[in-house]
Symmetry: C2
């Protein structure tokens, strides 16, 4: 697509602007169809973004996208049209705002609820430095369920600064938005009802404006800009997720994130099936999600057990405490969540779930490098941040069969449990699992053993093993399916002198460290080399390529194995 | 104090109840004066607790204390009067609710904002199991700034259950409560103003009731109990922090937490002094706290630089994003916080601060075992959860002088920095510090070197060293003052074969693991033994005794050193 400049937008007729919107929408649709990405949210905010670029003056003014997945039109309008075909490719345009990519991206986002806090920080910095620019936070109604948004609203009166909050209300989180705040917003849309709640927080409220209609949006934004001279403003904008493409409008949850190869996630399907089967037998089983029902595979469970299934909105902390207390009240909760979003509930995992030793099962999806969404979505820290929490068991299935077995085992496990798995997987046998027991997949004639955790690393280990066999080196291979507890008996008994650990996690604080600590503490001499991700954030790209580039490279592992073999 | 039973309370005259309140108040005052603890909040809630025990039926009904530091009267009324003199002592009564201590404590708390979520979990479990009890969350107005409370309020309509929320409004967090919600609540107290915000969330609002007057409180609680039959209720109760003791009433921040030995914390004083001095020279410096101004030593900074000092209330996540964006906007933020409360901002440290590589300095107080507050306040995880975050530097001063030096160094450090330190400390020389450089304090004739991080462990290491010298073993000692980055040059050059690491942190994921990983990766053979806390939550007790009991015992370390020496 050609580069539309802000200058053009500022001078264009309404008709021309609408034509520009159509052009942008077509470009987004065709690029996402090819590269994957967030479709419906970006289609819904085209007019809003065009209007912002017309009314405000970027990058002098600061535009902060909450979550950030709705920034495509902004990228197209800020000098990145010709590069947009590289969307979500390694080295190409990120699907989220990136300061490193353009001065038009002033603040990186990826997780929900940060934009108003971030806007307040910029505004306060501006005030203190005596600078002159406007700060705008574009926040979806889904994020308005998140506690962080509330904390930011609460501090508007503390910080005495001026920001514009654009509430982009499409009635959706990833799942449909839920809860008391959602009902309030819905009522405002219908009757321009009770807006006092925002006024109480020091905001001048305006709305509701049709955010897909420039003729309404432009004057409303101009008014908001003018009100912004004297205080903070909330402009409530109603948009339609997927606007302009009927399939997206009718299936916004399915077209929130698009996977270009059409590949089905498999672990989440197994989660749904197993939980339904367990729940049939055990009335205590309940499922909790923070606005991700379908993506986590819980659709069937929610349909079959509506009274025992809770989507609490984008509230990862609350969901965690809710699980802890459901367990304290005698239930058996399963909390399904993406790896990086679980970081939000870190404190509650420690103090609410594990310090009380309550039987909550965390089903951690998108563990390991997840790919095209980039830094904020790479689940490469979970083994590290779960590794030191007392009372917690951490399991890493080798395939979907083993995942099913772990879920079945969990039903009778009366303590905190975390099971972490990637998006895609292959089926496999469902054998009985014992907590803390590894599995020897191959023994060896050489003095080298590979210890790998999780499906991807076990596959990689098998590849390394085959390649080594071709060179006459037979490696043992162990499925290290528990990070906590480790299989001390098996580790102690391993005859090999050399160990190579593989994990789809950062190296610091993960499996390699745990295995090395075990031997150090036991006073057993081993030579250990560990492979996992290095000490850097992993950007967007294709998962397998990222794995190789950031630390899990078959040839490098093979080289280490050969060196070990040569030393004997 | 004699045990007052709920039966007695249910039958007593108002006069008798008031006499009971006085007796409880005296017992709390005398015990806290001797054992330390939370004074003013407990004095403020005596009548409320007595009224709850009269109106409800514990432990069948469930009473959940937000934060939990206001549970003393409840403990006295639930079979623990004769044991109350052991308050906060190792093996004695905890200063917080503990399921392990009594069936009257149904849910453990310690960090703010969890009680309503927890109440909803219990209520939902009750509904699903067809049980019959009431659930009450007692929540201070300070917690009403916390996002978790909002997330819970938002889900009342999702969960369709019945809970009673007692809003205990004393106008204080630890610092005075601030922000938009506080202003709303204040207005309600004055004019019974706009209560719609609570009704929108599905709560029937009643109040404001004088929570220190049983003649108002008892009928209000009876009414709330009756309303609770059909839905959730919020009863707004005004109490006076420190009620009954004039010094506590006039200085609630000072009497929030009482230290029986009157010892002054020293690191926080240095923080205040250094930040003031830096801020004089650098207009970009700002300070942020989440409702802990005085306890963190920031009182002087807030007085001297009111426009550059922000107390955002109990909002650890928001404070973190605010710091990141202040930095993105060109400021130099210092975020002072207790170690365990920083767990709440874990996701934001990773994605807002470190992924964007922004110059935010985290001043982490109460690191290591902090003592009498127990599990939720022991700062024994921070080295582990900060160890794997890319771009972050983690510093551990050996004394207050070095802490001052690190703060001075931080002024020109343009990236994320965390400095962790305990409450108490000793002064020391202020020498220039270089990032990632350790300090050799003693060289040795033996083949053993101690690597210790932080004041407590360096003191312990000196004690071990003296004791070893008495046995003719001279140990080297290194001040390992950075966890990230380690001093690779120094570690590579250490001539000793044996290393002993000491850290005031859990062993998993801390300094010992980092040092071992360094040598493993570098292919250097060392024999390493690590001392720190084991894989268990550390309960309440006296810090030095807890250190010994949970992993940092001088005699045990000495024994390991002697064994190493004997092996040669």
């Amino acid at each position: 697509m050609r580069q539309i400049t802000d200058r053009e937008l500022k001078e264009a007729s309404l008709e021309k602007l609408n034509a520009d919107c159509n052009e942008i929408r077509r470009e987004i649709f065709s690029t996402v169809s090819r590269c994957g990405g967030h479709l419906s949210s970006n289609l819904g905010t085209v007019e809003l973004t065009v209007a912002l670029h017309r009314v405000f003056d970027f990058p002098k003014d600061k535009l902060i996208f909450d979550v950030g997945h709705q920034c495509y039109a902004h990228k197209l309008l800020s000098g990145r049209a010709s590069a947009f075909h590289t969307l979500r490719k390694r080295g190409g345009i990120s699907g989220f705002p990136k300061r490193s990519e353009s001065p038009f991206d002033c603040y990186d986002t990826g997780h929900a609820g940060t934009a108003i806090s971030a806007a307040l920080g910029f505004a306060k910095a501006r005030d203190l430095k005596g600078e002159n620019y406007e700060v705008i936070a574009l926040v979806g109604d889904g994020s308005f369920n998140n506690g962080l948004v509330y904390e930011a609203l609460n501090s508007i009166k503390i910080l005495h600064s001026r920001v514009l909050i654009l509430l982009n209300d499409n009635g959706m989180s990833i799942s449909p938005t839920v809860g008391g705040m959602h009902e309030m917003l819905s009522e405002m849309k219908k009757t321009a009802g009770d807006v006092k709640i925002f006024e109480r927080f020091g905001l001048t409220y305006r709305g509701v404006v049709n955010g897909n209609d420039l003729s309404e949006l432009l004057p409303a934004l101009e008014e908001a800009k003018s009100l912004l001279k004297t205080g903070s403003v909330l402009l409530h904008v109603a948009t339609k997720k997927g606007q302009g493409y009927s399939f997206c409008e009718s299936a916004p949850e399915k077209t929130h994130g698009i996977c270009p190869d059409g590949k089905q996630a498999e672990y989440n399907k197994a989660l749904g099936e197993e939980l339904c089967a367990l729940a049939e037998k055990d009335e205590k089983i309940v499922a909790v999600t923070a606005a991700m029902t379908e993506n986590l595979g819980l659709g069937a469970f929610f349909a079959a057990f509506p009274k025992r299934a809770f989507d609490v909105g984008i509230c990862e902390e609350h969901a965690s405490v809710l699980c802890a207390s459901l367990a304290a009240g005698g239930m058996k909760p399963y909390y399904a969540i993406y790896s990086t979003f679980l970081e939000r509930a870190f404190d509650e995992i420690i103090h609410d779930v594990c310090a009380q030793n309550l039987p909550v099962t965390f089903c951690i999806d998108r563990a390991g490098v997840s790919g095209a969404d980039g830094e904020t979505h790479q689940g490469v820290f979970d083994l590290s941040f779960l590794s030191f929490i007392p009372n917690l068991t951490v399991a890493i299935p080798k395939d979907i069969g083993e995942f099913r077995a772990m879920l079945r085992m969990s039903a009778s496990w009366n303590a905190p449990l975390a099971i972490r798995y990637p998006r895609e997987g292959t089926e496999g046998a469902i054998s009985e699992i014992e907590i803390g027991k590894f599995e020897v997949l191959h023994s060896s004639t050489s003095d080298i053993v590979l210890l790998a955790a999780g499906e991807r690393c076990l596959k990689l280990a098998e590849e390394v093993r085959s390649a080594a066999l071709n060179k006459g080196i037979e490696l043992a291979l162990v499925n290290a399916r528990f990070l906590r507890p480790l299989d001390g008996a098996l580790l102690s008994a391993l005859p090999q002198k050399y160990l190579v650990t593989l994990e789809d996690n950062c190296l610091i604080g993960g499996l390699g460290d745990a295995v090395a600590r075990f031997y150090r503490t036991a006073g057993i001499q081993k030579e250990i080399r560990s492979f996992g991700y290095g000490d850097a954030f992993v950007p967007h790209g294709e998962p397998k390529a990222l794995m190789g580039e950031f630390g899990l490279d078959k040839e490098k592992i093979l080289k280490v194995v050969e060196e070990m073999y040569a030393r004997g």
